[in-house]
């Protein structure tokens, strides 16, 4: 599967990172309470995910692989992402105040977002080249955003609904996630993707 278009669709819908792969659940349940915060988080994830894919691609292929240091991959990637988030935050704060005001508060949360790290690992494991890595990161980020916004809209409604007290909060959110995930199962087999 080397076609960038298919990689994109696979990452975006068929193998949706949240609903099909179960990665990035903590921010998913944590910030999907209103559509506004969900949008901010989603955009921040797309941005950082793509940057992280580029940088880790360079680190892996230009440093770790040639020097035979692949066993440092996990440590190197997580530290890279942590510093990247710090730099992005400082840079936005200085140069793009508007963007910083919109995304700033979500950035620190991203360091522990396993979706970012997962994408950098999957890029290596799937042996994607630079273009495909970028496409995969973009598709995954967009898939994350789509689901988190959809879900936030659902939860805004759930808050108004009369719900059994034991089910309030997380349990009903999980039930909703289960139904949305069931809908996404419908994409399975699309274009032979899995």
């Amino acid at each position: 599967m080397k076609n960038p278009g298919l990689i994109f669709l696979g990452a975006f819908l068929v193998n949706n990172i949240i609903l099909m792969r179960f990665i990035g659940l903590c921010p998913f349940f944590g910030v999907s309470t209103t559509v506004e915060t969900a949008t901010g988080m989603g955009l921040a994830v797309i941005f950082v995910m793509t940057l992280a894919a580029w940088i880790t691609f360079g680190i892996y292929h230009a440093v770790l692989l040639p020097l035979g240091l692949v066993f440092l991959r996990t440590a190197a990637f997580i530290l890279t992402i942590a510093s990247l988030v710090q730099f992005v935050e400082m840079f936005l704060k200085k140069s793009y105040r508007g963007l910083y005001n919109a995304l700033g508060i979500y950035l620190p949360l991203i360091t522990t977002n396993c979706a970012i790290l997962a994408v950098t690992f999957l890029n290596i494991d799937n042996r994607y080249n630079f273009v495909n890595s970028t496409v995969f990161a973009l598709g995954t980020g967009l898939g994350f955003t789509l689901v988190i916004i959809t879900f936030a809209a659902l939860r805004e409604r759930l808050d108004q609904a009369p719900i059994n007290p034991s089910l309030k909060g997380y349990p009903i959110a999980f039930v909703a996630a289960s139904l949305v995930s069931l809908a996404f199962l419908g994409f399975s087999g699309l274009f032979g993707l899995s």
Partner: protein
């Protein structure tokens, strides 16, 4: 000691200790990991063919099954047909009468992506057992005139397995080693001696070694591509030909063009626009095999 200094020293010490521990552990496990992979692969082959050993002809794709007295008792090949959810990895054993001795379908833990509970049933013995003793023509679903019962509610997966196995047999059945005229690859030589069965030959002229002929293979856009290459004593390529390729007609199959091959031969390989993956696969395969077989020229 200032606090900045202390911070840097702590960080460096921790990093160095961690890296050292990992380096030691890595060098300890790497051979084990390699051995585990080989053992698993071998166990997979033994499941489909009764043989003492297997001789790899195409890396990870085709093997000769070697029985007692070093006789070739059949072949084992792997195919990856498109199923419902993704590619289905199948290993097939074939005896010398071109009858199936067994098939093995990788389970969900090995990357099978068929629907759990439905398509995944192709891995069960009830379904796989039907293939044993069948020949290529019989490997079709009953509704298509064959002898295989499809799994209820998993027709696409069942059909994919039949098609993959049948096409694989048609593709590899003639394999006693790929039939090709080595003289096309190495025109100056008049005799060839096999060094590694079905993969490497010395090219001789009047008893003198002129060079080597070998097979190289690489992952193309759709399937594996096998190339034959001739190399003279100065490690210069004297001939290249595509032996096996199932690339997209009109695009990937452009790698069979004389022009493309001539450029590889002259040491100035050029990728074909529109068929980058296929042509790069050929170029890399030739380059890497030339490097690894090059030492036979010494």
């Amino acid at each position: 000691m200032t606090s900045t200094k202390k911070m840097i020293i702590t960080l460096v010490v921790v990093a160095v200790v961690c890296a050292t521990v990992l380096a030691l552990f890595y060098s300890f496990t790497v051979p084990l990991i390699a051995k585990t992979r080989v053992d698993l692969a071998l166990a997979g082959l033994k499941e489909v063919a009764e043989a003492d050993s297997f001789l790899e002809i195409i890396s990870d794709t085709l093997w000769n099954a070697i029985g007692p007295d070093e006789n070739v008792v059949g072949i084992v090949f792997r195919v990856w047909p498109q199923g419902y959810g993704g590619l289905i990895p199948i290993t097939v054993g074939l005896d010398n009468d071109r009858k199936i001795t067994g098939i093995r379908i990788a389970g969900a833990s090995e990357g099978l992506k068929e629907t759990p509970g439905l398509g995944v049933k192709i891995t069960e013995a009830d379904f796989r057992g039907q293939f044993i003793g069948k020949s290529a023509d019989e490997v079709r679903l009953k509704k298509d005139g064959g002898l295989i019962d499809a799994i209820t509610a998993a027709t696409i997966s069942s059909k994919a397995v039949c098609d993959g196995v049948r096409n694989g047999i048609e593709k590899y059945a003639q394999y006693g080693g790929p039939e090709f005229d080595k003289r096309n690859i190495f025109p100056d030589a008049d005799d060839f001696i096999a060094i590694i069965k079905d993969s490497l030959w010395y090219a001789l002229k009047a008893g003198d070694t002129l060079g080597i002929v070998f097979l190289a293979s690489g992952e193309g856009y759709l399937d594996r591509i096998v190339v034959a290459v001739g190399l003279d004593r100065n490690k210069k390529i004297v001939g290249v030909d595509i032996l096996m390729s199932q690339e997209t007609a009109g695009i990937g199959e452009l790698i069979r063009e004389k022009d493309f091959l001539a450029k590889i031969r002259d040491g100035k390989p050029e990728t074909i626009s529109g068929a980058t993956v296929s042509s790069e696969a050929v170029i890399t395969a030739v380059k890497e095999a030339a490097k690894s077989y090059g030492e036979y020229l010494k």
